[in-house]
């Protein structure tokens, strides 16, 4: 099980890293989502991997128990990364609509000054 979880985290992280380093906003958003999945599984496993154990201390017998704290941490991390991804998608969309391409880098058209450049680009798009 350890091998499976570890390689799962590794593959997710590697895929996420690759996508984050892409030039366009959409793959980058997907990459950050994959990274957040990877880190969620990683946090989950930081309380050691166990199956079939009670989630809290059992006061009637000396039993092993699953650590409940990582589960709370994962829940917080999921909520935050979910909200952050939504914000990121909105900003990426706004940036795409303002500048007519979804590249993450600042393009010469952006640098010329927002309103004028995007106006020209939109005219060009209409002509096509």
């Amino acid at each position: 099980m350890e091998m499976l979880v570890a390689s799962g985290i590794g593959v997710l992280t590697a895929g996420g890293m690759y996508l984050v380093l892409r030039l366009r906003a959409f793959p980058v958003v997907l990459g950050l989502a994959m990274l957040s999945y990877a880190v969620n599984v990683f946090l989950f496993s930081s309380g050691r991997l166990a199956t079939g154990m009670p989630p809290v201390l059992n006061k009637y017998a000396e039993l092993d128990y699953a650590d409940p704290l990582p589960q709370a941490l994962v829940l917080t991390a999921i909520v935050i990364s979910f909200g952050m991804t939504a914000v990121l998608v909105m900003i990426a969309l706004g940036s795409y609509l303002e500048s007519t391409d979804d590249s993450v880098n600042v393009t010469p058209a952006d640098a010329d000054g927002g309103a004028a450049a995007s106006g020209e680009d939109r005219d060009g798009e209409d002509a096509r």
Binding site: S81, V104, D110
Partner: protein
């Protein structure tokens, strides 16, 4: 427990939703409420600051859970000082924003501003690593909104990069926290400090990895080389008053490094030893150099100031990297100074850039109050570059004096001194292009810059009335915050002796953390009162 400790977090958290949902259509009411909230929080932080002067470390147990299990807020002198600094800066920035009408150029400025304050206060107060992550996210998500305030293609694109960078940083933060929890079994900073000192050296590899991962996360926040690239694009495309508020955000990173690598992973921990400081030193060295070269090469006022901020962070982190009490005093003095210096310059840049219509460093038509702006810029630039008589000189002198304990101190001296020289040359060039050359242009010629402002504003500015106000002479309300920030530099210089005596007490709490460690983990029940 003293319940006033939680007020700096709670008050903005209560004011912000009110502003967002109840007062969204009434800008006057929103301004009054936001200002009242900020002044109230300023009073509370002042009270907490006075309270902390007795040297006791106060703990606030949220939900009254015992410390290693529950989340705690900790008020020691360092956090009290930074709370007060944030509140003063927030007050100045808010005054500027209201006087110049920036808050009417988009929606929800005041609500985002209050959430931003809440996140920063929380990050300074918390004594729990995961809670630190949560407050980082609070301040970041508010900063995304503030950075995009007013809109525009360039600002959105720069904002996208800023968000991506910080999301990657947050992911790294979670990896670091997971590793720390897996090795020490705790996330409370003080409890962690006790646990990592018990880990034998041969099992310390994972702790070392976690400590350095955390260092990278804080380095992203503090704009340390090689993860400083986000700062220039963000600060120079953000609204200038927001950039002034962001002057404290890089300090959150510096504070976290100072806190975590003295109390938790201090130089006396076998597992990590002097490694964090050693790496920090070389990173800070290059950061200082990048700042100096960037100031010299910048072609716009806002990028120039952004590189000056990077340079000042480099100097600050060089002092922190020495990891001695004396160097920490120098670092904290320089932290106070550089926050106000950066804020003064960005607030002034807003006034100047709005009137010129462009932030490129070239000679344009002379603006209203040219002499006054020139004098203020001169004073703030002297402070930022580190020339006498303002506090920058004393701060850099302290840093130079205290990093002599390092092995490679000559490198640090070279970086700081050459960086300062480049900064002086860069600021002199910028000042003469902005304020001096225009006086030589023939008066009364048509001014292309003004027209461009009108066109751009029609596209992006929702409240067209603010434009008319902004182009004319700056009123006393608009000038007061920038002047106030410069006055703080002068006060820091005049009261350098009492301030440094106070900072020595702060450094003692950091490097002899008996008070911090004793109050948090449970053994003494009922601790903290």
């Amino acid at each position: 427990m003293n319940h006033w400790i939680v007020v700096p977090v709670l008050l903005p958290a209560l004011v912000a939703p009110l502003l967002a949902w109840v007062m969204r259509f009434d800008i006057t009411l929103a301004r009054v409420t936001s200002m009242a909230g900020t002044v109230a929080v300023l009073a509370v932080t002042l009270g907490l600051f006075v309270l902390s002067l007795d040297g006791e470390v106060r703990v606030y147990r949220l939900g009254d859970w015992e410390p290693p299990f529950g989340i705690v807020l900790v008020l020691d002198q360092l956090s009290a000082m930074l709370l007060l600094l944030t509140a003063i800066l927030g007050f100045l920035v808010l005054l500027h924003v209201i006087a110049t009408g920036w808050d009417a150029r988009g929606r929800h400025f005041h609500a985002l501003f209050q959430f931003q304050l809440m996140g920063i206060f929380g990050a300074f107060l918390t004594g729990d690593a995961f809670n630190l992550f949560v407050f980082f996210e609070v301040l970041l998500i508010a900063s995304y909104g503030l950075m995009l305030h007013g809109g525009g293609a360039m600002r959105l694109k720069a904002g996208l990069q800023y968000v991506i960078m910080n999301l990657a940083g947050s992911t790294l933060f979670l990896f670091a926290l997971g590793t720390i929890y897996a090795t020490t079994g705790t996330l409370n900073l003080a409890d962690m400090a006790l646990k990592v000192r018990e880990i034998p050296l041969e099992e310390a590899a994972l702790v070392r990895v976690a400590a350095m991962l955390l260092m990278i996360v804080f380095a992203v926040k503090a704009a340390l080389f090689p993860v400083q690239f986000w700062l220039v694009g963000t600060y120079s495309n953000a609204p200038a008053p927001v950039a002034a508020l962001f002057a404290i955000m890089t300090k959150v990173g510096a504070y976290s490094i100072l806190r975590v690598y003295t109390i938790t992973f201090g130089p006396d921990v076998e597992a990590t030893g002097t490694m964090p400081g050693d790496w920090l030193f070389w990173g800070a060295l290059v950061t200082t150099a990048i700042g100096g070269v960037g100031v010299l090469g910048a072609r716009g006022l806002m990028p120039l100031l952004s590189f000056a901020v990077i340079g000042s962070m480099g100097t600050l982190l060089l002092a922190i990297s020495a990891m001695t009490p004396a160097a920490a005093v120098a670092a904290m003095y320089y932290l106070l100074h550089s926050t106000f210096a950066a804020a003064a310059l960005f607030l002034l840049a807003d006034l100047v850039v709005t009137r010129r219509g462009s932030d490129t460093l070239d000679a344009r038509g002379i603006t209203a109050q040219n002499g006054l702006f020139a004098a203020l810029f001169f004073a703030a630039a002297i402070g930022m570059a580190g020339m006498p008589p303002l506090s920058g000189f004393l701060g850099k002198l302290l840093v130079l004096d205290t990093i002599r304990t390092l092995d490679h101190w000559s490198w640090g001296w070279t970086a700081i001194l050459v960086g300062s020289l480049l900064t002086i040359v860069g600021f002199a060039r910028a000042g003469s292009a902005l304020f001096w050359k225009p006086t030589a242009l023939p008066p009364g010629e048509p001014d292309p810059a003004r027209k461009r402002v009108l066109i751009v504003d029609d596209d992006t500015d929702t409240a067209s009335t603010t434009r008319e106000v902004a182009i004319g002479r700056a009123g006393p309300m608009a000038l007061a915050p920038a002047m106030g920030a410069v006055a703080m530099l002068a006060l820091l210089a005049v009261f350098a002796h009492p301030v440094s005596i106070f900072l020595e007490g702060v450094a003692d709490q950091l490097f002899e953390p008996a008070g911090y460690l004793a109050l948090i983990p449970a053994p003494a029940t009922g601790a903290g009162g």
